[in-house]
Symmetry: C2
């Protein structure tokens, strides 16, 4: 991978992830990568199956072997984008040990990444409203950090799918509002709401988020950013 | 309205709401009422525009004057159902003064009503994922009760659209999980999460929700229930 330029890396994200898979999965990954590139250029609404197939160098027939229609394609792209961002955020905060700060940073990074690239943002909002086939991968990120906080004794909560669904719903609603309102304070607001749900009191939640903002400004996290910027 | 039987009331819900309006709005309300009845019988997926038009005694042409397609109809029905439930819940808790208990009761009643009638439940989840034309009516319910709690000094939070969007997202995610899992503990879990976001500490949030459950069991609220059961 180190021989690719950042640009090439970006456009081959899902293909790289499946290098050892069968031809079927490689073609599927090629379609997802191509669809993201076309959607970033034209917007999600104005992206046609025909253009994605053409850009990927595939016949319509071979496209429809992988995806029944545009709805199925958008769902797969949205889920793949959300799952990829969960992995990116996880790598970005790999040096952070405290569960509370991990949750705050992950929330803010996730939402801010969606705002940097509104096509990704809209796809992620879409994915979080119906987790589909990527449900486990998307749950994994938040479950890991909440688990760390529970073991460290910070979070007073039970580990349950309904809890993760509610926390992801907060992230999704915050990202949607932030995309519409262009309000920079929303990622921190979402991080505080999530910490509160997890049982952190308001004063402590504010301190954690203030520290997380400082960490973000110092550039101690998000080392992966240039890869996708 | 007192001359209607409960049954008649139910099937004319949206028509009653527009008695003084023009013919156009009455026909629109007739379509919404008919669509709800057909969806409750057949499910949302298997409801066709043709059947709704036929049951409403309208030609396809006159149906399409009001709604461009099924997607538009489902969105309007979902928004109308969610807005109607907000009004019902507001009436049901009209005797409760404490902001914290109002928020807990409203959350649990709203979700439990969705579970009693899964068609309504799915329509409400749909409405909350994209608030559309009923946004203000749906926001009004939660804004009122949160406002009461802020004025009473219980809630430590700012009054902002992003906050309401996050709280409604919790309600929506909880209702979706509860519909899938048939887990009775989810409405109370959602009420606690919402109180925590609003700045109530975990011990106090648990007490409020325990009291709200007692109030529900005693039947002190939800006097409107027979109307729609």
């Amino acid at each position: 991978m180190s021989t690719h330029s950042p640009r090439t890396k970006k456009s081959r994200h899902f293909q790289d992830a499946s290098q050892d898979d069968t031809k079927r999965l490689r073609t599927r990954a090629l379609i997802l990568d191509t669809a993201i590139a076309v959607m970033a250029k034209n917007g999600i609404e104005r992206t046609s199956v025909m253009e994605v197939a053409e850009q990927a160098g595939l016949s319509n027939g071979s496209f429809y072997y992988h995806f029944r229609n545009k709805t199925e394609l958008v769902e797969a792209v949205a889920g793949a984008v959300a799952a990829a961002l969960v992995r990116e955020v996880d790598e970005a905060i790999s040096g952070i040990e405290q569960g509370t700060e991990r949750v705050a940073l992950a929330t803010m990074l996730f939402i801010e990444r969606g705002l940097q690239d509104p096509t990704w943002g809209r796809l992620i909002v879409h994915a979080l409203s119906d987790l589909g086939e990527f449900r486990e991968q998307i749950f994994a990120g938040i479950r890991k950090d909440v688990g760390i906080g529970i073991r460290q004794g910070y979070f007073k909560t039970v580990d349950s799918p309904a809890l993760y669904a509610m926390l992801l719903a907060i992230v999704s609603a915050a990202m949607r509002e932030a995309l519409v309102k262009r309000d920079d304070s929303i990622p921190a607001m979402a991080a505080q709401a999530i910490l509160r749900v997890l049982g952190i009191d308001i004063v402590a939640a504010e301190t954690v988020v203030t520290n997380a903002k400082k960490t973000l400004r110092k550039g101690h996290v998000w080392s992966q950013r240039p890869q996708r910027a």
